[in-house]
């Protein structure tokens, strides 16, 4: 198996990982770095459960080759907030009841954080539009959208 050396920053920490050439960023994170927050729900970019930020942009980690992440910055769910704290989006997911099985949670939370960074006051329709690339099978999305709205309100109150 051909190996490559991947230097990258994940959640503010620098890593150098030897890994297989064909590996995706998702599996580098999960297998090599033990960061299992990003999930594999479909391996084809259809469910968004693997959403992380790559150089500040939300992407499906299952569709990024590990080598393509060399020299880049990755933010995963584990790096979103400090040890005992929650990012407002995380907290509102909890409080609004948007967490059932939770498997879709990390991906949706990362995407929502990205959304609120570039659109701090999204309408409900804009939220639904933005989250259209992520699947949830448990909640029917209502409480997820509510959570993002509440997080936006809180973050805008500053």
């Amino acid at each position: 198996m051909n190996a490559i050396s991947v230097d990258l920053m994940v959640n503010g920490q620098q890593y150098c990982v030897e890994t297989a050439a064909h590996k995706t960023l998702l599996y580098l994170l999960r297998d090599d770095l033990g960061l299992t927050g990003a999930k594999d729900g479909c391996s084809e970019g259809e469910c968004g459960a693997c959403t992380i930020m790559l150089d500040g942009q939300p992407v499906n980690a299952c569709l990024v080759l590990a080598g393509q992440a060399i020299g880049r910055e990755v933010l995963t769910i584990e790096g979103l907030a400090g040890d005992d704290q929650l990012h407002p989006v995380q907290r509102h997911f909890v409080e609004a009841g948007a967490v059932q099985c939770g498997f879709c949670g990390p991906g949706l939370i990362m995407l929502s954080v990205a959304l609120l960074e570039c659109a701090p006051e999204p309408t409900e329709s804009e939220i639904r539009q933005a989250l259209g690339g992520n699947l949830c099978r448990c909640t029917g999305y209502a409480k997820i959208v509510e959570a993002v709205q509440l997080a936006a309100e809180e973050m805008n109150r500053g």
């Binding site: 198996m1 051909n2 490559i4 297989a20 050439a21 064909h22 995706t24 391996s43 084809e44 970019g45 259809e46 968004g48 959403t51 942009q57 939300p58 992407v59 499906n60 299952c62 569709l63 990024v64 080759l65 590990a66 080598g67 393509q68 060399i70 995407l111 990205a114 959304l115 933005a130 989250l131 259209g132 690339g133 992520n134």
Partner: protein, 284 residues
């Protein structure tokens, strides 16, 4: 999945060199290539990563020609003021591809190289009469997109070539355009039928220019030349629109597949072409 190597050329020349030496599979956004790699769909084990070629991501205009770098992703396309004014049909289509995450990675060059019959960017690019510039160690050549797309997953891109740029004349202000599609769900779905229309009307709704392209209803996306001929220099009335929609149906050759039947696709072509023309006719 064993036996893959991974290389990241830092320049386009380097990439061409690698292709010339050993061949390989080009990866840009990875949104098509990575699932195909998982499925064992290609022979070669050499992955050549184009994502470092930052200078291939651009949207520029020179003398009325708009040039898009092959590595420009959908998000960049959607937000380009140049494209919003000069090729809005492309922006419309780009916004419907997948979700935000795939739009942040997928590239226009990759979409062309993948040559899916249902590729949503193809009909708009065909209506724009796009030309594709290819480079290799042998030099550079330009070929109309219409000739580049040859079949499902097949293009005229040679094994040693890299798509560098897509270019087309920007649409005049008087031209209106629209992109319509049908899918089995509102969110993220491969199109069952897609239609791109560019229309320029003169006095009394006289058709001065029209381009109609269809996706997902033939081995590649296609221009509807018969439909366009029928429309040119005629007054765009309801019955002419109806005629055009019927002709477009004759020009497509859809198949039955897991997403829809040929019959429904033909029906969809008729409805969408009619709607597209109607919408643009009403848009003054």
């Amino acid at each position: 999945m064993q036996g893959f190597t991974f290389d990241s050329p830092q320049t386009l020349e380097e990439a061409c060199q690698m292709l010339a030496e050993t061949g390989g599979k080009l990866v840009a956004g990875g949104t098509d290539v990575i699932p195909q790699m998982r499925d064992g769909r290609f022979q070669t084990g050499r992955l050549i990563d184009l994502s470092r070629l930052d200078n291939l991501s651009y949207v520029e205009q020179h003398n009325g020609t708009i040039a898009i770098g092959a590595l420009t992703n959908y998000t960049t396309l959607m937000h380009s003021p140049l494209l919003q004014t000069g090729a809005s049909v492309l922006v419309e289509a780009a916004g419907l591809v997948g979700g935000i995450q795939t739009r942040n990675r997928g590239t226009v060059g990759g979409n062309i190289a993948n040559a899916s019959p249902a590729g949503d960017m193809h009909p708009p690019l065909l209506t724009l009469k796009a030309e594709v510039t290819l480079v290799s160690t042998d030099g550079e050549r330009a070929i109309p997109l219409a000739r580049l797309l040859q079949g499902p997953g097949e293009t005229a891109v040679a094994p040693n070539e890299v798509i560098r740029q897509i270019s087309f004349g920007g649409l005049p202000a008087a031209a209106k355009s629209t992109f319509l599609r049908l899918g089995n769900r509102r969110g993220m779905a491969v199109s069952v039928v897609s239609v791109a229309v560019v229309l320029q009307l003169g006095l009394e709704n006289m058709v001065e220019d029209v381009r109609v392209a269809l996706g997902a209803v033939a081995p590649t996306a296609i221009r509807c030349h018969k439909t366009e001929s029928l429309l040119m220099r005629r007054q765009l009335t309801d019955s002419v629109i109806e005629e055009a929609a019927n002709t477009a149906v004759q020009e497509c050759s859809p198949i039955d597949d897991v997403r829809g039947s040929a019959n429904y696709r033909r029906h969809g072509v008729k409805v969408l072409v009619r709607r597209g023309l109607q919408t643009l006719a009403d848009r003054r």
